[in-house]
């Protein structure tokens, strides 16, 4: 389990992180979302030891995250970096070796990954000769070649076509199934909603929301209660909590504290209840609200 505990970081007089905490459990895919400059990359760089925090700690399976642990992580930095003049397979293999794979194992892992990412026929080409999308796949291969125990990926989906997105998503799901915590940042909230078990929203260096997607959507005060009552006497909503907007028989309650049972009782008393339910906001709506 990756635990990020109260990270603080300042650049000069600008505060980048003001107490960021969250955790990613084994076998959990954690989507890290936030506006540009909110602190996602800074958090991930501190997590990977590329940057030092002013205070706070990163823990791995209960202990401080050490260099030897990070070697078993797969990392994809925000600004992609590859040796442009090195051949694709050679490069992926090289990073496998650096992460401790034996020569034969590195060769095999490279061949398998390139196959999965549809890069086999480009294995002998220099990375610089590839399209940006393909370079991104190589970057991913570099992060995955040593079958990492955890994945930390900064914007892995940006710039990918839908097919590449699916291929990448499949690989991530597979790592999650193998029990690895997977942390990635993205601006593609629909993707995050589709793939992630848990989501963390960061704004101006603080975590403004985190939890499972379901928890966030069901979050208190975040839901909209939609009630449709047929043949109700007008004015049945008087005295009920929350702000409401009526549209014929349909009434939307927002800002309701509690579970809304009193509203249900009032509705039942007023007429035939055709619909009573919480309208869950989409992640995009939650995000907009959270960072506003």
């Amino acid at each position: 389990m990756i635990e990020i505990d109260d990270l603080h970081k300042r650049y000069g007089d600008k505060t980048a992180l003001a107490g960021v905490s969250f955790s990613v459990k084994p076998g959990e895919m954690f989507g890290f979302v936030g506006a540009n400059g909110a602190g996602k990359t800074t958090t991930m760089r501190i997590l990977m030891g590329v940057l030092t925090a002013d205070s706070g700690q990163v823990r791995w399976n209960g202990g401080p995250l050490a260099f030897a642990d990070r070697r078993r992580f797969g990392y994809m930095p925000e600004e992609r970096g590859l040796y442009q003049k090195m051949k694709v397979a050679e490069q992926v293999e090289y990073f496998g070796r650096l992460n401790g794979l034996a020569p034969a194992a590195a060769r095999k892992a490279t061949a398998d990954l390139l196959e999965r990412l549809s890069l086999t026929d480009r294995a002998g080409d220099e990375v610089g000769a590839l399209s940006l999308g393909n370079q991104q796949r190589v970057q991913l291969a570099v992060a995955l070649v040593h079958e990492p125990e955890a994945l930390v990926l900064d914007e892995p989906f940006s710039g990918l076509d839908p097919i590449a997105v699916d291929a990448l998503a499949e690989v991530l799901v597979e790592r999650r199934r193998a029990g690895a915590p997977v942390l990635f940042s993205s601006h593609q909230l629909d993707l995050v909603e589709r793939l992630c078990d848990a989501v963390g929203i960061i704004s101006a260096g603080r975590m403004v929301a985190s939890g499972t997607v379901g928890e966030l959507r069901a979050g208190e005060g975040r839901g909209v209660l939609r009630v449709v009552v047929r043949e109700a006497a007008p004015g049945w909503t008087a005295g009920l909590p929350g702000d409401l907007a009526a549209n014929g028989d349909e009434v939307l309650f927002t800002g309701v504290d509690g579970d809304g049972q009193e509203i249900l009782r009032a509705a039942t008393a007023a007429g035939r209840v055709e619909h009573f339910g919480w309208e869950r906001p989409s992640l995009t709506e939650i995000f907009r609200e959270a960072v506003a």
């Binding site: 760089r45 990977m48 030891g49 590329v50 940057l51 260099f67 990070r70 070697r71 992580f73 990392y75 930095p77 600004e79 992609r80 970096g81 590859l82 040796y83 442009q84 003049k85 090195m86 090289y94 990073f95 070796r97 650096l98 992460n99 401790g100 570099v142 992060a143």
Partner: protein, 382 residues
């Protein structure tokens, strides 16, 4: 340690097949080979053809005085035939009746001396025999051991060869140290600018990355140096110039290798430290200015030392690191250097190199992950 070797191997494999490295290798080897051939070109021929008209005594006398120089003689029936052969260039000169030498213009100086000496010997023998002395005894009496040269001052017999070798050493050291330092700097900025360094440094330590790079490029430079030496000495042997090489060539070769290694270690780590301050290739040359100044000063003093090895400037600079890494090997190649001076220079350079490794690695470690604007040296040295 494994990480260091992997990095070194990558440097050797990828840099070793770049056009820049291969071109440098070929050009330096060709230049040094040509330089080794030059004395041969300027030395003039070492074999002569001489036409002879009406003399029998000259030939054996020529053979005995010519030594290493090969002189062949061709008989001609009369002076007209010999004259024609000289003009046609078939023979370098022709001796007529032991009285005159015919040449196209002036007689080649070495050949003239040889002919004169042979003529003198032959005529002396002939006249002594004519005076009634036993020709065998005359021949014996005329076998004179040549004077042996013994220098009671500095041994200057090999001065020219030593100056030549020292000049090659200056050129080679300057070229290799400068090129390798540039390779190191470009590699550091390539990794920093493209952020590969962020991935690398989650897998290996900064000292492994820096050490592997310096080691790998050092192996390439050393291979280049060995190729240059083999080509240079091989060319010297092939041309027969090798017999003129001063004694102690092995010492000169080993000394050059030793000083190269120290100079390379010092300058390449300095290059890595300086270039880790910037993130773009365009900034490399400006951030390397201090290094370029050091290398250029070393080069000029070393070049000056090839001509004036004994001056105070050369002696002082050959002791001060890092200049000593280029000036001292040149002094050692160019002439005798007192052992204590070599010892002092080596000790100081070793200390300076160790210091540079420590400070340079520290700067590199602190600066290489700080991408963006150029990092100020004062921010990372403390």
């Amino acid at each position: 340690m494994n990480g260091l070797w992997l990095v070194a191997r990558r440097e050797i494999v990828t840099r070793g097949r770049t056009k820049g490295f291969i071109a440098g290798l070929v050009v330096s080897a060709v230049l040094v080979g040509a330089f080794a051939f030059l004395p041969k070109v300027f030395d003039g021929p070492d074999s002569y053809a001489v036409g002879v008209v009406g003399s029998s005594a000259l030939q054996p006398a020529l053979t005995s005085t010519a030594g290493e120089t090969e002189v062949t003689t061709r008989p001609f029936a009369d002076e007209a035939a010999a004259r024609k052969a000289v003009l046609d260039g078939d023979v370098d000169a022709a001796v007529v009746d032991d009285r005159r030498v015919l040449a196209d213009g002036e007689v080649d100086r070495e050949l003239g001396a040889l002919l004169e000496s042979a003529h003198r010997t032959a005529q002396t023998q002939k006249q002594l025999a004519d005076a009634g002395l036993d020709p065998a005894k005359v021949g014996q009496a005329m076998q004179v051991a040549p004077l042996e040269q013994v220098s009671v001052g500095a041994d200057t017999r090999y001065a020219a060869a030593r100056t030549g070798i020292a000049t090659i050493v200056v050129f080679v050291l300057f070229f290799l140290i400068f090129q390798s330092a540039m390779f190191v700097a470009m590699g550091v900025v390539e990794e920093k600018g493209s952020r590969i360094v962020e991935i690398l440094l989650t897998s290996i330590r900064p000292w492994q990355l820096l050490g592997g790079k310096v080691l790998g490029l050092g192996v390439l430079a050393l291979a280049n140096l060995v190729v240059i030496m083999v080509v240079g000495l091989g060319a010297a042997a092939a041309t027969g110039f090798a017999v003129d090489l001063p004694p102690g060539m092995a010492g000169i070769v080993l000394g050059t290798l030793f000083w190269f290694l120290l100079g390379y270690a010092f300058f390449s780590v300095l290059a890595a430290a300086l270039s880790s301050l910037v993130s773009r290739q365009e900034e490399v040359s400006s951030v390397l200015t201090p290094l370029q100044m050091l290398v250029m000063v070393s080069y000029f003093v070393a070049f000056f030392a090839t001509m004036e090895p004994g001056t105070a400037l050369a002696r002082v600079m050959s002791l001060i690191p890092p200049f000593s890494s280029m000036v001292m090997p040149v002094r050692m190649a160019g002439g005798e250097v007192p052992l204590w001076e070599i010892g002092v220079a080596a000790a100081l350079m070793l200390v300076a190199t160790a210091g540079m490794l420590a400070v340079g690695a520290r700067i590199y470690e602190r600066a290489v992950l700080r991408t963006g604007a150029r990092v100020k040296l004062t921010e990372v040295v403390r």
